[in-house]
């Protein structure tokens, strides 16, 4: 029997889809009974979303004004206080989970595992190292396993469940040394990059923020896709940092990934290697992206993309 606690991620209004992927990971741990721990303020609706995930046994909701901001320093002592009742504590390998989970582990004097991509046994997992250039099988010698879950490696658990929601008691006085000043969210009508089924990404070859806007975003709109960018494009100022795909940006697994003018540095490929179909359009036939692409087209993206967009639009009209 494994008692698994998943730390839910949310934005104050909705459950982040990474939580459902953690549920799938947890369900692969033998004999798992899954509890979702939810910290926030005014989170009844989010608790209901968590309770509806299939495979969840119960939701523990810590609804308190002090939990409104997802601060590791505030949440870690609360999670640590519960952790003794569990064999596993999981969080998504997002900036939220990566920030929080090691802090919990250290409070418990326990090691943590980052980015688990496969469950081999309740104590044994696989995870990528060296930007995904090697896969490590690692065994944890501890009574409680704390890990972040590489969400691109697991499908989201479907809805349709109906687990009970219990109110948890916050028993720890939160520290006041860390305060949220603001969160500047990048607003977009497009699908969310991390969970989108289709992604169109642009690289340095776009040449300017204006061209990035017109070429990449137009094709994304025609496909109903999210927009991503290579590190080079972000560093050049063509795209916002939260669009970066790769080792140090977002790791994604869409059904379709279209890379426009992206050379395919290993750090970028790390972020997309779980994509089902990778399409590369690049004028450099020797670009490494073509080694990983399922479909490649060598040519000038400024000519190809408008033609591709027109072809897609004419198909969708017929």
């Amino acid at each position: 029997m494994s008692e698994v606690l998943i730390i839910a991620e949310h934005d104050g209004a909705r459950l982040n889809p990474s939580t459902a992927r953690c549920v799938t990971c947890a369900s692969q741990i033998e004999g798992a009974r899954i509890t979702i721990g939810l910290w926030g303020s005014g989170i009844a609706a989010i608790a209901a979303q968590a309770a509806a995930l299939q495979g969840v046994a119960r939701v523990l909701s810590f609804d308190a004004p002090g939990n409104a901001a997802p601060l590791a320093a505030v949440l870690a002592p609360q999670v640590a206080a519960l952790a003794k009742a569990y064999t596993h504590v999981l969080a998504p390998s997002t900036t939220f989970g990566k920030d929080l989970l090691p802090r919990i582990a250290a409070l418990l004097n326990l090691p943590a595992l980052s980015d688990i991509m496969a469950v081999e046994s309740p104590q044994r997992f696989r995870r990528p190292i060296y930007a995904g250039n090697a896969i490590l099988t690692v065994e944890v010698d501890a009574p409680l396993v704390l890990a972040t879950v590489r969400t691109a490696s697991f499908q989201a658990a479907p809805a349709g469940g109906s687990a009970p929601v219990e109110a948890g008691e916050v028993s720890v006085a939160p520290p006041t040394h860390t305060r949220l000043v603001e969160l500047a969210v990048t607003h977009s009508d497009r699908p969310d990059l991390q969970t989108a089924r289709r992604v169109v990404s642009g690289g340095r070859a776009l040449g300017s923020a204006e061209k990035f806007q017109s070429v990449v975003q137009d094709l994304a709109d025609a496909l109903g896709a999210a927009v991503g960018a290579s590190r080079a494009a972000v560093d050049a100022g063509y795209a916002a940092n939260d669009l970066q795909v790769g080792q140090t940006g977002k790791i994604i697994a869409p059904d379709l990934y279209i890379a426009l003018g992206i050379s395919g540095a290993i750090q970028h490929m790390t972020g997309i290697k779980d994509a089902r179909t990778i399409v590369a359009i690049n004028k450099d036939a020797d670009a490494p992206i073509f080694e990983a692409a399922d479909i490649g087209l060598v040519g000038d993206l400024f000519e190809i993309v408008p033609a591709l967009r027109a072809a897609i639009q004419s198909r969708s009209r017929t």
């Binding site: 934005d11 320093a73 900036t95 990566k98 920030d99 989970l101 090691p102 802090r103 919990i104 582990a105 250290a106 004097n109 326990l110 090691p111 943590a112 980052s114 980015d115 190292i129 060296y130 995904g132 250039n133 090697a134 896969i135 490590l136 099988t137 690692v138 065994e139 944890v140 010698d141 520290p175 040394h177 860390t178 305060r179 949220l180 000043v181 603001e182 969160l183 500047a184 969210v185 990048t186 972000v234 560093d235 916002a240 939260d242 080792q247 140090t248 379709l256 290697k273 990778i278 399409v279 399922d294 479909i295 490649g296 087209l297 040519g299 190809i304 591709l308 072809a311 198909r315 969708s316």
Partner: protein, 249 residues
């Protein structure tokens, strides 16, 4: 003294193509170039800039590793750090033990800030800074893209999935840095010569009272599964057909 402690880790240089050993016992590190972890170099650059702006008076770099990590610490001194500490150990430490060793240094040096890279590019753990902050019982601001010190607080902009988050933390605190915080300076030859005279102190784990407790057993290293070879299409029409054949449009 207003001091910043910067943690640096020596890693396989980011330009090296990583290969797994034929017996799956690790990755090949013999004879490959070793460098300061790029994120830690950004942390050091930020510490130097804070000192240059008058927000700090001394920058101390610390590393944990074998004796020849002195080479990377000398590079850090040449970049402008004032002195260096090497916690010598032949066996690599897990992040929790590394954080415990750094805690000892923090207790000794009493810095107003501990600056580290957000992750090392070898094991990609992204844990040590957060663990140090927990053990130290101090604030953490991870994935920083902007750091402003103001009296007893730091205002840190963090790169998070949703956008940019700004935290205010009381000092002392742990800050881990992301790629876009700055671009580290190049080291000039006169600085390399000068750095040879800067103090570099070697400490043993035992002298810090640390007994490593490895609890993560590495069983097997494998090369990632290569993707199946794809097809090259020659024009947009073929591309559209290929996408349609896969039900993607």
């Amino acid at each position: 003294m207003k001091r910043i402690l910067v943690g640096i880790k020596r890693v396989v240089d980011y330009n090296v193509r990583i290969r797994v050993k034929p017996d799956n016992s690790g990755v090949i590190t013999d004879g490959v170039k070793l460098s300061i972890n790029p994120f830690d170099e950004i942390a050091l650059e930020e510490a130097l800039r804070l000192k240059e702006r008058g927000a700090a008076e001394e920058v101390v770099v610390a590393s944990i590793g074998p004796a020849d990590v002195q080479a990377q610490l000398r590079t850090a001194l040449a970049m402008g750090a004032d002195r260096a500490l090497l916690v010598e150990t032949a066996t690599p430490l897990e992040p929790l033990d590394a954080a415990k060793a750094l805690l000892k240094l923090v207790e000794r040096e009493q810095p107003l800030l501990a600056l580290l890279g957000k992750q090392a590019i070898d094991d990609d753990n992204n844990q040590t800074g957060q663990m140090l902050a927990a053990l130290w019982n101090r604030p953490q601001a991870t994935f920083a893209s902007k750091v402003v010190l103001d009296g007893n607080t730091a205002r840190v902009t963090r790169e998070v999935d949703a956008g940019l988050e700004t935290l205010e933390v009381d000092l002392p605190a742990v800050i881990t840095v992301d790629l876009r915080l700055n671009e580290p300076r190049f080291v000039k030859l006169p600085e390399i010569i000068k750095a040879k005279k800067k103090p570099l102190e070697t400490l043993s784990l035992a002298s810090l009272g640390i007994t490593p407790q490895p609890r993560l057993r590495a069983l097997h290293y494998a090369a990632p599964q290569p993707r199946a070879r794809g097809v090259l299409v020659k024009d947009v029409n073929e591309l559209v057909e290929a996408l349609a054949a896969r039900d993607l449009i």
